[in-house]
């Protein structure tokens, strides 16, 4: 069964590139996309994704607050936070707000896929896409 992913990032091009990438993966599909935390919270309620891949730095509502609200409403939804900053504080903040994973944008796409598979419980090691 394919994992439904909601992508939340204020950077539209990043969302577009990520969608093109996920489109080639048989085990995942993009359920929707959000440009800020508020939209992400709303769309989680509407689309019920398995996983939210969300940037921390976003306007209106950042990824940390959005994660808190998502987890409060839908504890089973997995959240992996992304950040351009690879600081310990960001990683700690991600853990404290209930995120299931944290990724610096400096990491590779292969590492991202590995963490997404781990978070969603897919233990398959076969690199289907990367």
């Amino acid at each position: 069964m394919s994992v439904k992913i909601l992508v939340a990032d204020d950077h539209a091009a990043f969302r577009e590139f990520l969608k093109l990438f996920v489109a080639k993966m048989p085990e995942a599909c993009i359920a929707g996309e959000a440009a800020n935390g508020e939209e992400a919270v709303y769309l989680v309620g509407r689309l019920n994704p398995d996983l939210v891949l969300m940037d921390i730095e976003m306007p209106q509502m950042d990824g940390l607050e959005a994660t808190r609200q998502i987890k409060a409403r839908s504890a089973l939804t997995k959240v992996v936070l992304l950040s351009a900053l690879a600081s310990e504080a960001q990683s700690k903040g991600a853990g404290e707000c209930g995120a299931d994973g944290f990724l610096a944008k400096g990491t590779s796409v292969r590492e991202m896929m590995s963490i997404l598979r781990k978070v969603t419980g897919d233990s398959s090691e076969s690199p289907k896409v990367c």
């Binding site: 950077h11 539209a12 590139f17 990438f21 351009a84 944008k105 990491t107 796409v109």
Partner: protein
């Protein structure tokens, strides 16, 4: 006269001119464009992957520190430098300068987080052939790459306006050679100012009370004396002189 020299002058028309040219290019050329994407890994990998899905492009990615080595290995036609956040604006410009020296045949585009005037000007001063917002769609980025690959300058009307506003506030009194001797006559300098301000030949002619034909002759002479091929280059040359002076 070359259509491009007539149309490139107007900031608002640059992107549409580029788009038309890119359309012609994609129909006529079967060759792919080798692209090097430099920046933060996850972003560059996803962008390279997205470009590789189009048969007109072959893309590889590299981190900022590996840009020169990657350019040596892959001999890209076009390098796309992701300046990332505004926190380190000089890093992208340094990479552009490095590529300009080591691989002058590679055309360079800088992706900017914002179109802050200083960032846009710094990008062109460093030698970029185009600037583009990081938030533009993949389709626009492809058009930008194709246009720059054809030797054109790419900038949005907003970014060009920023460049022109800078020119307005710092137009040089005259363009000079390395000895300080004027390169252009007073009349030719008047025409250069008109070009830098984004005026058409007709507008320059009206402003200087000359015929359009005479202005065209001046423009050809200016191209010849400055060794440039477009009005944009005249404007950028003028800006570089202003920066020096």
């Amino acid at each position: 006269m070359d259509v491009r020299t007539e149309t490139t002058i107007t900031p608002a028309s640059v992107c549409s001119t580029s788009t038309i040219d890119r359309g012609v290019q994609s129909e006529q050329s079967a060759d792919y464009i080798r692209v090097l994407i430099v920046g933060v890994r996850m972003y560059t990998q996803l962008l390279a992957e997205a470009l590789r899905q189009d048969q007109n492009f072959d893309a590889v990615e590299a981190g900022c520190e590996q840009a020169a080595a990657a350019a040596s290995n892959h001999r890209p036609h076009v390098a796309v430098i992701d300046a990332g956040s505004d926190r380190e604006p000089s890093k992208a410009s340094d990479i552009v300068r490095q590529l300009r020296v080591l691989h002058p045949q590679t055309q360079v585009i800088i992706l900017l987080e914002s179109n802050r005037p200083q960032l846009v000007l710094e990008a062109f001063r460093a030698g970029a052939n185009g600037v583009l917002s990081r938030d533009e769609s993949l389709d626009i980025l492809k058009k930008c790459i194709c246009s720059v690959h054809r030797g054109q300058v790419w900038a949005s009307s907003v970014e060009l306006r920023l460049v022109l506003e800078t020119l307005r506030s710092a137009l040089p009194s005259q363009l000079v050679d390395f000895r300080g001797k004027p390169l252009l006559s007073k009349r030719e300098q008047d025409v250069v100012r008109g070009i830098a301000l984004g005026m058409t030949n007709r507008e320059i002619a009206e402003h200087l009370k000359l015929s359009v034909h005479t202005v065209k002759n001046y423009v050809f002479k200016i191209f010849d004396r400055l060794g440039v091929f477009s009005r944009m280059e005249v404007a950028l040359y003028s800006m570089s002189q202003a920066a020096k002076g």
